[in-house]
Amino acid sequence: MRIVRKGLIGIFVLVMASFLCGAASAAEPIKVGVVLPLTGSMAKFGEIERRSFEMALEEINAKGGVKGRKIELVFEDDTGKPDVGRSAVEKLISRDKVPVVTGGYSSAVVAAAAPVAHQLKVPFVICTGAADDVTEKGYEYVFRINPTASEYPEATKSFLKGVAKVKTAVILYENTQFGQSSSKAFEEDCKELGIQVLMKEGYSAGAIDFKPLLTNVKAKNPDLIYMVSYVLDASLLIRQAKELDINPKLFVGGAAGFTLPEFQMSAGPAAEYVFSATLWTPNLRDKDYPGAKKYFDNFRARYKSDTEYHGAEAYASMYVVADALKRTKSFTPKDVRDALAATNMKTAFGPVKFISYGKKTQQNKLPTYLVQWQDGKLETVWPKDVATKKALYPTPKWSARK
């Protein structure tokens, strides 16, 4: 039992030592904080983003870092929960003394962490969390690279205006922050386009059987079915729409799940002809999206798995942060913030410039795209000038498919 006691004391000493070791860091590299969901149900995307951050970091450091100093990333796991995310940001700012924090996947985490950054006056560069109101509160230290949830359907809107002139629509969405806000935005877009919304209904993610919902949809017989869903809800919806033989003129996904390879894998041939909004594709033009394709290929070669727009957001954020660190007068959070505010650069995720418009402040504005699954591949179909394939419209009936 003496051993147990000694062991306990040992553990105590180690823990105490660990309390102190954070403070005793070498002055050499510049630390940048990153909050991401590395465990928990969102860990899949957290992992893609972490890898993208690391890839960008290595490229930057290989080119000499910033001002002769290397950058070091301090990752904190937010587990996808707002209170944990807040703890993580607090820790990064007050213990690791980072001059800038980036990352932020879940909208809820971002919403809870942004006021912390604002109050502690350390810049927070959000790369994914899309809740509209985060950049509507006038937080001086909060920047966002990705478009807000309400802007995701922009390309869909112009496609509906230009090509698919439908009359009626049904909107289905998962009951999450992202689902509720982007479905609301699309409903307004429909109003603007004169499309009659026959039905707008939410569901809780993870349902086994969407037939009750889809049977109602079938009875309404809409021209367009717009769905905001994550990967496997998305594939279940499409599979069961096929089972029930629902034939609208087009299925459109509102980003999130519909662009991932898992969607195609799980939905199989049912995925064909499905459209989806997206923020990024690897084959965008180099003029505005320098390195997009290269990033995509490198990621694949290195990690033997696919990446998508979330990864590109993370990859670009690293470059934006590094760019600001290069231009800043000193490494105090205040100066870094000022440097970030003056950002005007092109990244693999598109041009980045933090502007104010409408109620929003320090928000990057980017165009969005429409993609479609054709022959098992995701092809960009809209806007026309970046399209890789022509959009297949209208969608053939299930019975007319092979």
């Binding site: 309390f19 954070g22 465990t39 209170d83 807040r86 919403a111 809870a112 109050q119 689902g179 509720q180």
Partner: protein
Amino acid sequence: MKKRLYPLILLAVLAGFPLVVEDNYYQHLMILFLMWVVIGSAWNMIAGYTGQVSFGDAAFFGSGAYAAGLLAHHLHVSAWWGMAIGGLAALAVGFPFGWICFRLRGAYFALATLALNEVLRHGTTIAESFTRGMLGIMIMPTFVSKVPYYYIALGMAVVSVLSVRLLIRSKPGYYFVSIREDQDAAESLGIDTHFYKMLSLAFAAFWTGMAGSLYMNYMGFIDPHVVFSLHDISIMAILVGIVGGVGTVYGPTVGAFIMVAVQEMFRSGFFGLFKFLAETTGSESVRALADVLTKGHVLGFGLLVVLVILVLPNGIVGDWDKIKKKVFRIHSPA
């Protein structure tokens, strides 16, 4: 004599803490700890003393948080006013809650509380136009510094623990315990068990609701999944109670400290200890171990829960004598 001094020493340490430790991060953890003291003490009253194991504490927590949040959102007044009504809102939820659940006993009671909390969570999500659904409610925290929150939380924790102490040493307290030990016997002795169970629940609901509105004010953001969470609130409350020791006055305090500390310890890889070791030793195996530990932190937490229940079924305070005997080889005078 000495034993009576412990709580006072603890209080003095806690009161002085933010003056000594100015690090935001530790202050933040301490605020969470104090909040869990309040919730844990409340749960301990209904479950530990009255024997009605509730799996639905989040219902009260969420009601308190939403009372504050909705007040701020709809009437544009400070969410601090919510502190005044948060506990009352939870009480208002508690009455129908008790009315439904107290017809049931044991496992059935636990399941009913769990189900009602789920109903509230779904309801809040669906009632988008009133609650903003999953968009959540976001307010600007009033203070930049953590110190005011710390002292408010400390005040709440102290008052809640003291009120537990007072209550269990009064007549209702003895009735609570008699209901826990044998409800039928208590009934046959003429105790209005329904009334006393309701009283106990009201106490629990009130304090949990207060903690909820503190959470709203402090965190500045809530959504239905966060505040009505089965795992993160209801079960965490139970764990705080169980780890510390059910049916003891200071059990939840010990439990709250351990749970908050351990959770954060696992999440941050023992506060970066392993990463530090990996960097100083430069050893690949230590680095791999650090990697595994950070990735599996929730697993570690889960294993710890299993272990505590196996080894210390009465919690740390409840099994203190056992711990003293086994680990420190101190035999308390029988």
